[in-house]
Amino acid sequence: MGTVHARSLEPLPVGGPDFGALGEEAEFVEVEPESKQEILENKDFPLDRHICTGIMWQRRKSRERLLSPLTDLAPPTVQQFSMPTHSCLVGQAGYNSWFFFNSFPCLCTLRLGHQTGLGGSSHRAQAERWGLPAWTQVIALQELLASPGAAGRPQRLCLCQWPAYLGTCGLWASPTASMSAEPQGTFLCLRQHLTGATLPRPLSQVMRKSHEAREKLLRLGIFRQVDVLIDTCQGDDALPNGLDVTFEVTELRRLTGSYNTMVGNNEGSMVLGLKLPNLLGRAEKVTFQFSYGTKETSYGLSFFKPQPGNFNRNFSVNLYKVTGQFPWSSLRETDRGLSAEYSFPIWKTSHTVKWEGVWRELGCLSRTASFAVRKESGHSLKSSLSHAMVIDSRNSSILPRKGALLKINQELAGYTGGDVSFLKEDFELQLNKQLALDSVISASLWGGMLVPMGEKPSSIADRFYLGGPTSVRGFSMHSIGPQSEGDYLGGEAYWAGGLHLYTPLPFRPGQGGFGELFRTHFFLNAGNLCNLNYGEGPKAHIRKLAECIRWSYGAGIVLRLGNIARLELNYCIPMGVQGGDRICDGVQFGAGIRFL
């Protein structure tokens, strides 16, 4: 009998544009086809009644308690199994919860295809001896040896079926009698939502759906590895023309920690990180990071919970203390804050709604700080609501080849407490197009406005800054705009635009390998930052933003670091420099995540 392995080469897609659709990033590794397989590939499998896929796992502390969570789910009466024909290919619409807790790989078998009969009496008797609840309908029983990690203890796996309205299959792992009473087996409940029609499907579609299911499982971030095996039905009660789709999963460890020491900028610090990737069984993630340094201490604790079945809807709560030093403004800022945010997708856009409460403490970095910055020192409390919308159709977030990005962010502070009150809007737009000869042309535009509400002027910690290797190149970091005695104060409105041409390295060294990470780039950047007088009309604002434009042009090399960051080394020629701006003409180095 032939088996088809569907295995993608990408280990852990995170989400967003890199979570490539099938055909772009994933590759199928086909095993040498055997004769039987050719017949399978072209055949359609009738699916008028099918069993949903489900692997139910639940954490348990002792054998006795294994039963109780299950009985909580359904009353102890047997219901006639019947799945409506319009239900999904695998899984049932509306049931989207999964629980994972494990320390050993497990095997679960799902069945598709026409169902002729349910488990025979021998299975039933066996199941009762093992302690399965009476209302389960047993389809297959298997004894498996556990993975090497669980010290060779045998496990019994039983594929059973819950009553129709629950719509899941259960996989029951029970230890043999010889095991001690400590927590052993795990019982995983996976009710997966895989969309699909009910029409008979060719094998390739089954493969594609399985691959999508695999991507979804990996995206939760709780599995180290997920493998899918598709095989024909085997066993006594094999369904005719049925397929077995098997997901082999290996979970991450329940608690991972890291410890680093960091030295830099006259400061040494010790960083401790802890991560629990799956706290309560539904892919909740808790991370904690603590940094203890000679000068500053900072920490961050975050709790992230996706909606079961729909990873794009998620909720997270963060508690943090961060300190920052801004030598361009001679300012030191310590923020202690709490934030709660909820993300959800609407059609192709992704929205995030967030409340944030921050206690900000500003101080001067040196005794020579200007008085304008000194006046801003002290404590303040900001409590704000913000909303962000992102539409991203690029194929990658670093050096994209095609697609566009639009981000719009607004923040309203002061109406939920605190003593800082403003309305802040900013947007980011980026367009990319591929040209001949492997070049890409990219245009981007950023802009923002801060309107203080009430009589208090805006705080230096809320204003916008412009300039630097990640925005208008050719100028020093955040060194454009209003300043006082050499300290840059930021501005309440800004815009910045960039036009780039990315080409592969000349003569293409290292083509196909290391050389693919580099690009040469030619750029033209422009921008302006100023304070607006809000009493005047929009024409006056536009006029003010259009006078004294700073711009620069140049060329350089870009290095792509994974999918997150990029390094640039550019030769820049700044123009339109106003009095008070600090420039960095000549060679400029930049590293970051977000570039103009």
């Binding site: 206690w359 001067c364 008085f371 000194r374 006046k375 020192s377 407490g417 003593d419």
Partner: protein, 232 residues
């Protein structure tokens, strides 16, 4: 030179007015954080910011104004000694009363210290400041003193000052010096804010008269946004 003065206590104001320098007083809630050394009062002159009375005096002297030029060495040493006494005794007693006496803390200090900030920052900052002051008190040995002991110490300090002043109009000769400004500042604050301490000070009539005289002479005459609360 126009001096902008940010203060909690009026003694630098008195000092600068005694030097006949024009000043402008600004009250800000974040004065402590603005100061380069973290302490009030401080002055902002042109581009420079100078905090605490000692450095302010030095700075003003460097600019050519000084009140203690007419004193000889012995008197200067004596003046320094008295200034240390006032700083150690009166200033610490004021802090003690503000932050370590439960009744005053609850009724007055928390509300006053936290008033510029919104909830919950007002509570957090007030508790933080109180913890800091208590720690400082413990470090200098005042942590275990009771209110009565503190009042005793204040009484002794006032007695020493009163004896030194005697019937003279100012502490040294007929001209005011830095000591006069400092003593005036502290006594004025005590007389206008606290009850228990002011009772002790009122026992010494020549100190009262001294304060009155300086207030009349320098503040009411100059009439520059100054403090003009009647001393009773």
């Amino acid at each position: 030179m126009l001096v902008r003065l940010v203060l909690h206590h009026p003694y630098p104001q008195a000092f600068l007015q005694m030097c006949n320098l024009p000043i402008k007083v600004v009250c800000r809630s974040n004065a402590e954080y603005m100061s380069p050394s973290g302490k009030v009062p401080f002055i902002h002159v042109g581009n420079q910011v100078v905090s605490e009375l000692g450095p302010i005096v030095q700075f003003v002297k460097a600019k050519g104004h000084s009140l203690s030029d007419g004193l000889d060495e012995v008197q200067k040493a004596e003046m320094k000694a008295y200034m240390e006494l006032v700083n150690n005794m009166l200033l610490t007693a004021e802090l003690y009363l503000q932050w370590c006496d439960e009744a005053t803390v609850r009724e007055i200090t928390y509300a006053r210290y936290g008033s510029p900030y919104p909830w919950p920052l007002n509570h957090v900052l007030a508790y933080q400041k109180q913890w800091e002051i208590k720690r400082k008190m413990k470090a200098i040995g005042w942590g275990s003193k009771t209110l009565d002991q503190v009042l005793e110490d204040v009484d002794q300090c006032c007695q020493a000052l009163s004896q030194r002043l005697g019937t003279q109009p100012y502490f040294f000769n007929k001209q005011p010096t830095e000591l006069d400004a400092l003593v005036f500042g502290h006594l004025y604050t005590i007389l206008t804010t606290t009850d228990e301490l002011s009772e002790k000070v009122k026992n010494y009539s020549n100190l009262l008269a001294f304060c009155r005289r300086i207030e009349q002479h320098y503040f009411e005459d100059h009439a520059r946004g100054g403090i003009s609360v009647r001393l009773s």
